[in-house]
Symmetry: none
Subunit: 242 residues, 2 copies
């Protein structure tokens, strides 16, 4: 396939493809005698990958570096990119919430303190730097913690309500419908505020029993709740893995 075809398929300009070739980011598999760039299917997949990175705000130089690394694993990359896209959506949701509040304020329906006028923006600035600088070499886990911290009053209330309900039923088997339904609520709630994959959900569950800070907090709602939730979450995640 020649430049124009690729360009139209991927929705980028021909100039962009030239540029990527120039800087060695995406070099076509083949070049004709006349100098025409011929792209393969593999090239196309690479381009897709590049665009995912770009969507996440990675600079081209960084993308090149990552993808040229001999230990680069496409699958792992995709999964991490997906998680980062989830996070980006969360952030966008915050901006949306902010603008909705602002609209209400402009109608005089509500007052807004200055510090609330900018929630959602801060992270948008250099998303990759905070998140991914070290992560593409390491295996950091603790991100879930922050998510729970960033909650407003409404969320906090809902949060408590769910936990109280879970505490009430913590005697039943974690795989029972009762338990699974309630834990499903928890899952969907988390996805409202933060976007979790089943895998991430399961990971979070593990932390409930492995990290005493979590355990302590959760067990305030009822002795053994953390353990109960952890099990239920595992099962739920397993059943809901796409």
């Amino acid at each position: 396939m020649k430049v124009k075809e690729i360009a139209e398929l991927a929705g980028v300009s021909v100039r962009t493809l030239h540029h990527y070739d120039e800087i060695g980011l995406l070099v076509p598999d083949e070049v004709t005698e006349a100098g025409y760039r011929i792209y393969s299917d593999k090239n196309l997949d690479t381009l897709q990958q590049i665009l995912f990175f770009k969507e996440l705000g990675f600079p081209l130089e960084k993308i090149k570096e990552i993808m040229h690394n001999p230990s680069f694993d496409r699958q792992q990359a995709l999964i991490r990119q997906r998680d980062m896209l989830y996070r980006k959506r969360s952030q966008l949701n915050e901006v949306i919430r902010t603008i909705e509040k602002t609209i209400q304020e402009s109608k005089g329906e509500r007052k807004m303190p200055n510090r609330d006028k900018f929630t959602g923006f801060d992270f948008s600035h250099n998303p990759y730097e905070e998140e991914a600088r070290e992560r593409w070499g390491d295996e950091a886990v603790d991100e879930s913690e922050e998510k729970v911290k960033n909650m407003n009053g409404y969320d906090q209330e809902k949060f408590n309500e769910i936990f109280r309900e879970l505490a009430r039923i913590r005697g039943v088997s974690p795989e029972s419908d009762t338990a699974q339904d309630k834990i499903g609520i928890w899952y969907h709630y988390l996805n409202e505020v933060g976007n979790y994959s089943p895998q991430a959900f399961e990971g979070l569950g593990h932390m409930y029993v492995n990290d005493e800070r979590f355990t302590e907090n959760i067990d305030q709602f009822g002795e053994g709740l953390a353990a109960f939730m952890s099990q239920a979450m595992s099962i739920y995640a397993e059943r809901n893995k796409s």
Copy 2:
């Protein structure tokens, strides 16, 4: 308030504020004798507005032009920006769907035609130009306003609308075209705000009947609506499992 305070509040750099002053985009209301920039609360609101535009990818020059227009109406601007943010989220959701499919493909669980590998990206290029180039000019404002309400309007409104419509048809069979059509709208709506797989959709449907809080809320639109939706959602999910 001096630069640093504003910068921290809004999550931008001091240099950025300098720049905005330089190009006349955000000129502080007051300047001390020593040349210190002093920002007012009004300045802060303007900055917020600017950041919304930026989030939407407007170039600074355009933002300046729009906001300096004497017929500029803050409320209307906010509403339009909100709508464009919704659209941006939709587009991001498409990217997310694309990457999820790609992950499945990389596991060998599915094949993907080349043209599907890039859905979601194309629009990211010049979002404002198609939509807003002439519209921010000065006239013909309220016509788009109407459209906005019907097509992309406020989540809550749309939400209610869908439920009312579903309530109206809840007498028909859940597998009828009428029902499946409407439930499809619901499915797509959910995917605008949160990205649901058919499986997750089905799971949600189960919760409508198994969790009384859901049931109660939904049945406010019409007795038995929760049960109706639950069935329709199961069927829809089954038919749309890719």
